[in-house]
């Protein structure tokens, strides 16, 4: 386990390092961020001044290492638009996205696990068809369309829930459902196939033969082993949702990282964009690391790969 852990940690570090280079390069793709920051119609001297101020006139490698050194010491630069340190801006927006992501994942799991179990117990039955229909439509529905549909039904028509902003917890309900639906199909399929496999295994047959109550067999014995891969996938899905929350936050005007990213991209606020790219990738890398460790802990065969 020790060697596996060391190798996996090293890999994560390498991944984060390369990702940071990618994040940096992406933002500098246009060649000269100063022109974009100065805006249209800026004079050449203004652009040159911005270029000097932010050090864009230095070679790219020098800029990268300067940025990386700053990041390692916890300094992400300043947002030229918001006139705040990037760390402060992120600290304001990150909790919103974290809460949204947690609620969305909670919603997805509450939907996917019971439905997946019921679908697996009666293959081809009503619940199985419902689960399959939900998985198929959930995969096909674009999240912005689902968001607008929920806004129309629950906000405009029924007046049940607020549709914009993040003032109260109620503001998170519709965005969390939208984002959660995005994660549901994969979790649902995995729960279902895992349960089908486990229910056919020897230890479940034994438990049944001993005459344990059916619900006890399902909940205490079968679900316990079927849920492990689902938990790992949930960790990965959480990471994916952080990246995918841009659309949802944009539609619902939630002031989270996604909304911040979208606005920062539109105003070429490159220090913020870099930081969000790096942060999202870092969270994803750490979550996949945790998922892998969880798998390895529970299934020693995984440690070989």
């Amino acid at each position: 386990m020790g060697r596996f852990l060391a190798r996996r940690l090293l890999l994560t570090l390498l991944v984060v390092l390369v990702t940071s280079i990618v994040a940096f390069s992406l933002v500098h793709l246009s060649g000269d961020p100063a022109a974009a920051m100065a805006g249209e119609g800026a004079s050449a001297t203004d652009v040159a001044a911005i270029r000097r101020l932010y050090g864009f006139d230095r070679p790219l490698t020098v800029q990268y290492f300067a940025w990386a050194a700053d990041v390692l010491s916890g300094e992400f630069g300043r947002s030229y638009y918001l006139r705040e340190s990037v760390v402060q801006v992120l600290a304001e927006h990150a909790p919103v996205t974290a809460l949204l992501g947690s609620l969305a994942l909670g919603f997805a799991l509450l939907l996917a696990i019971p439905l997946g179990v019921l679908a697996a117990l009666r293959r081809g039955g009503m619940m199985d068809r419902l689960a399959s229909a939900l998985a198929v439509t959930g995969q096909a529905a674009p999240s912005f369309l689902l968001a607008l549909l929920l806004i129309y039904v629950f906000g405009v028509r029924l007046h049940w829930l607020p549709i914009s902003g993040n003032a109260t917890t109620a503001h998170y309900v519709l965005p969390a459902i939208t984002l959660g639906m995005y994660a549901t199909p994969a979790l649902l399929r995995l729960t279902r196939s895992g349960m089908i496999e486990v229910m056919q295994s020897d230890h479940i047959r034994t438990a049944r033969a001993y005459g344990l109550a059916p619900w006890r067999v399902v909940l205490r014995h079968a679900l316990r082993s079927a849920i492990i891969p689902v938990v790992s996938l949930a960790a990965v899905q959480f990471g994916l949702m952080l990246g995918g929350s841009i659309v949802v936050e944009a539609v619902f005007s939630l002031k989270g990282l996604g909304q911040l990213a979208w606005e920062s991209i539109q105003r070429s606020d490159i220090e913020v964009i870099q930081a969000i790219l790096l942060l999202t990738s870092l969270v994803y890398a750490v979550l996949t690391l945790l998922a892998d460790l969880l798998n390895a802990l529970l299934d020693p065969r995984m440690r070989l790969t």
């Binding site: 890999l11 390498l14 991944v15 984060v16 390369v18 990702t19 990618v22 992406l26 933002v27 793709l29 246009s30 974009a36 198929v136 439509t137 995969q139 096909a140 529905a141 674009p142 999240s143 912005f144 369309l145 607008l148 549909l149 806004i151 129309y152 405009v156 399929r189 196939s193 994916l240 952080l242 990246g243 995918g244 841009i246 659309v247 944009a250 990213a261 979208w262 991209i265 539109q266 070429s268 964009i273 969000i276 790219l277 999202t280 990738s281 994803y284 890398a285 996949t288």
Partner: protein, 287 residues
């Protein structure tokens, strides 16, 4: 995996309900997007400010000139819907060609050579998975500017991971099979073995992945256009149409529903087709 005789495969496909439902819908969308514009004879970019926001035919003031009504600039909604279908299908298919080529090549190399090459391929896949797709696509389009070519390249460069993973494991299974060893023994070159021996034997799972990524690419283009960083006006895209109609949610919700439902139906059709193909071509496991 023993590939079923071609005729039996086709036969099973033809008896698969979802194949007809999915494939038929896609064919219909393709056909409408190709010949529809000439039939309705409306220019999707022609503005007519005197006839803004007219009702569709079922509305109180519906007309037969604009069957689905007009948008806030007086452009014919049906014409834009058909033009958007072209964009969706073009970007989807072109993207799958790009991502399929990248992913398949990487997967073939990693699966066939194993060892360090495989480690490197794995590492590149991990990097790709670590980068958030929507965010990276938005940043690139914002930095480089958006055109259809750039959108195809960006989405294509972001969606090849599944191709690589599936090709890699399928290639691993075949790398030590008799026919590959035989090909090596008669002195076939490595590219020949990879492209002429292995590749034709893994097309089943690859076609299934292609449908998954086709749906994925269509949704991603729509999301980017919805956020204003995809297809640019005056070109039409379903995502863009939804974004433009967003302010009409209260009074003209159908303006959102028309492109939105079209998009969901097309993606659903692609998924159904993919399901049917998976049942027939790669029944041994979900990819």
């Amino acid at each position: 995996m023993t590939p079923a005789p071609a005729r039996a495969t086709v036969h099973r496909l033809l008896r698969h309900g979802r194949f007809w439902l999915g494939g038929g819908t896609i064919a219909l969308v393709l056909l409408l997007s190709l010949i529809g514009p000439t039939i309705i004879g409306q220019d999707p970019t022609q503005q007519d400010l005197a006839h803004r926001l007219t009702d569709p035919f079922w509305g109180a003031h519906g007309t037969s000139t604009h069957i689905l009504g007009t948008d806030q600039l007086g452009r014919d909604t049906l014409a834009r819907l058909l033009a958007g279908a072209r964009v969706s299908l073009f970007i989807g298919v072109a993207t799958v060609i790009v991502s399929g080529t990248i992913g398949t090549l990487l997967g073939l190399l990693g699966g066939y050579f194993g060892g360090r090459v495989d480690l490197a391929v794995n590492f590149i896949v991990t990097i790709r998975l670590t980068l958030p797709v929507v965010l990276v696509a938005l940043v690139v389009v914002a930095m480089v500017g958006s055109s259809l070519t750039i959108l195809v390249l960006v989405i294509g460069l972001l969606l090849w991971d599944r191709f690589a993973v599936v090709t890699r494991s399928a290639t691993q299974r075949l790398a030590h099979s008799d026919f590959v060893i035989a090909a090596r023994c008669i002195g076939s070159s490595t590219p020949r073995i990879l492209l002429a021996e292995i590749l034709p034997n893994i097309t089943g799972p690859l076609i299934v992945v292609a449908t998954i990524e086709l749906a994925h690419a269509i949704l991603l283009e729509a999301a980017l256009s919805f956020l204003g960083l995809g297809v640019k006006p005056p070109l039409a895209s379903w995502g863009l149409m939804v974004a433009e109609a967003k302010s009409q949610l209260l009074f003209r919700p159908w303006q959102i529903a028309i492109p939105g439902v079209a998009l969901a139906l097309l993606v659903l059709a692609v998924n159904l087709l993919g399901d049917a193909l998976r049942d027939v071509l790669a029944p041994e496991g979900r990819v």
